[in-house]
Structure formats: C-alpha cells, structure tokens
Point group: C2
Chain length 206, copies 2
Amino acid sequence: MTRNPIPEIVIGRLPVYLRALTRLLEQGRQVTSSQELGERLGISAAQIRKDLSQFGEFGKQGTGYDIEFLVAKIQEILKVDRVWEVAVVGAGDVGHALVNYGGFHDRGFKIAQIFDNDPDKVGTSYKDIVVMDIAQMQEKIRKAGIKIAMLAVPASVAQEVVDQLVEAGVEAILNYAPVNLVVPPGVRVQYIDPSVHLQTMTYFLD
Amino acid sequence: MTRNPIPEIVIGRLPVYLRALTRLLEQGRQVTSSQELGERLGISAAQIRKDLSQFGEFGKQGTGYDIEFLVAKIQEILKVDRVWEVAVVGAGDVGHALVNYGGFHDRGFKIAQIFDNDPDKVGTSYKDIVVMDIAQMQEKIRKAGIKIAMLAVPASVAQEVVDQLVEAGVEAILNYAPVNLVVPPGVRVQYIDPSVHLQTMTYFLD
DNA sequence: CCTGATTTGTGCAACAAAACACAATCGTGG
DNA sequence: CCACGATTGTGTTTTGTTGCACAAATCAGG
C-alpha cells in the first residue's frame, strides 16, 4: 500500500535493513523475522514491521520474511534496483579511496566521472577512469545525465563547486567537505565528516 | 537549565553548530544570532536556542551569542576541549586517507596508532606513524589508554576486531566497514557507509 | 534617561515517532 | 483436520521533538 508521505527517518533505515538482509543472504539464509533483524540492528521488531508495512505487506504471518523477496522490494523502493552513475569531485585521498572502493557496484552505484582542478592530476587514471578538468565538469555531468555527486574537495571551495553541480543537474550530493552546504529545494545533501561523528560520541566518554 | 538527561538528538547537532561557529570565527566574526546560524544550517532558530539552553544561558538578549565564548562552551560540553588519542585499524585506502587528513587536529583528535594484519604494511610509516601488527593491538591500546577507534577493515572481520577493541577498553568506534556491529552497553558506534548515505537519497530521485 | 529595535530563553501546544498489544494468519505435528 | 506456537500488520497509547509566541533583557540613538 503506497501510502502518502513516508517519513524521511523511515527511508533512512531502509538502507540499513537492506545491508543486513543482503548479508543474511550471503550467509545462505532464506527467511528471517522482524525479531531476528531487530536484534542484529539494535532496533525494535515492532519498528521494523511498521517501517516495512508503509510500503506493502512483505511478510508472512507465522513465518517471517523471505529475504530474497524483501531485498528485491527494498531495492525497488530505494530505486537501487538499477545502477546510478556517480561523479566524484576532488581527486585527493578521499576521492582516491572512493574510486578504489569496490563496494558500490552491488549497491546501485557506479563511479563514472572524476574531476579535479590540479593540472598534475588531470589526465591521470584512477582505476580505469581518467581524471578530468573541473572546468569541463558541468558539461560532462549534464551530457551524461548524472544526478549524484560525491564531493571530496577542500572546505574553502565546496559551496562554489556545489553551486556548479546543482546547475549541472545534480540532485543528490554526498559531502565529505567539513562545511554545511546551501542548496535549493529538491536537492539533497548527506554529510560525512569524521570529526562530527567522533564529537557526538566524546560527550558520552568519561 | 535542565542538566538532566540531554536527548541524544541534541548532542548530535552540537558538532554541527560547532563547525559552523568555528567557520564564522575564521571569517573574523565575533557575534552571531540563532537566526543567522539557523539560516546557514537549515535549522529553525528556536531549535538552536532550545538546544543550547539545555546546557546553560550562553547568549545575550538583544545581542546574540559571542562566537568565541560559545565555541569554547560547546567544546567543553562535547569534551573536545582536549585532544583524544585515536587508533585506526586497517591501513588500506580509508585508513590511509584518515591518517593523511589534517582536519582532526583542531577538532579534538589525534591519530596515535595504526594497525593492520598485512605483513607488507606492518613497519611502514603513514605520515610519522608506524603501522603496527594487529596482534599487538589490544596491548598497545590498553597501554595508551585509548578510548576511540576508527575501523577501516573488511566487513568480514569487522565484528571480530570490534570485540577485541572493546575488550581493550575502547568505548567509541567510528565504523567504516559496511556492517552493523554488536557492542555491549556503554560502547558507542557511529557508522559511515557511503552506499547507505547515497541510498537514502536515491529514494527521492525521479 | 527614554524609546524602539533586537534577540534570548522558555512554557505550552502541536506534531512526530516509537512502543505496546493483540487479532489474524500461517505452518507443523500429531 | 485440529491445536498450538510463531509471527505479521496495525489501531492505540505513550513518549519524544519541534514550533510558536511572548516576557524579559539589552543596546543604540537622540
């Protein structure tokens, strides 16, 4: 039952469910329950059931959830039942690690383009992808119809690059630069800043 | 004024405030308001005021907040008014990028130890830190009294390493491995998984 | 010293999320 | 083919979070 506006917090949990379910599949499991999943994720069983029920009835009473089926459903909901081309901006250590990372392939993403403004880097290859000049970024992204970018540039130029990305049609940005970004409505940003993550934990240390 | 149990969601916003305030300081600003801060962060002014008021009265009516003072207060609250030694486990691309990253220094963290199980990597230096064998991890971490670790190992061994870290006294883990970790009460985990972050955004794409 | 423009801190109301609890359903084993 | 244990989906209750609105405080200018 595709209900009206699904809370964003629910959407945020789906990738976590998906990751755990995929792992169960790899372990040869065929069926699981909200209880088992909840124990593994530290989430209540009721919450998992309610989250999933927002999108349909995927389980069987008395039995649980067929993992393969549920994985397919969540992939469909999250629109990762396809492969999205992604652009990486910034060919420093982070950009390098992202390009080398093998984990995107099975999860709906493929790094298609890399950009940097350093002439020494432009033209070199990361894996089988040639680093392009950031001056060509907008044209290349628009031409390829890329909607997703990962931003791994210095904080000082992040906002400027974001403005260009948005103008080129990008609608989802994973930001590794340690600054808040201002984007127009309809464009989403997710933040990865190790210091921020660490600082949320130090509060609880002695 | 209520110093009792502060909601975790509030704690999670403080590092973001801190980052923005620090940036304002760098720009030479001395005073700001909840309204200005809110506009920059996409958060309501009321929320910022309420969050901060959980810890004390840091602003001045009619004037706003003295940025330097507020930065100091938030650093104190988050316990990043000191420098925490951090251990990195896994000397692959991610571990490498973390060690090279210059952004920890001013934000309360210092990478003090790196571990890997690859004999080819053990003994080599990343920056000025020598990669140590993971076999010595528990001893080294315990001896140094390290409470914070960043985990950048393959998913298949992540839980096993975490168990060792916890046993060695680590209480906060920033996990780059794409798996959910099970930890005892009192130990905190934060997750960084680019695919998960991206998948929360694809839902909203066309 | 008074007035008006700001801006904080907060009580209260509105909204959102999580937990509870249970009828309905399913599969199994006797 | 019946009874029982397991498990879902969901209406209701409980708990938590956010937004609103305003008194109180502050400052600048005349």
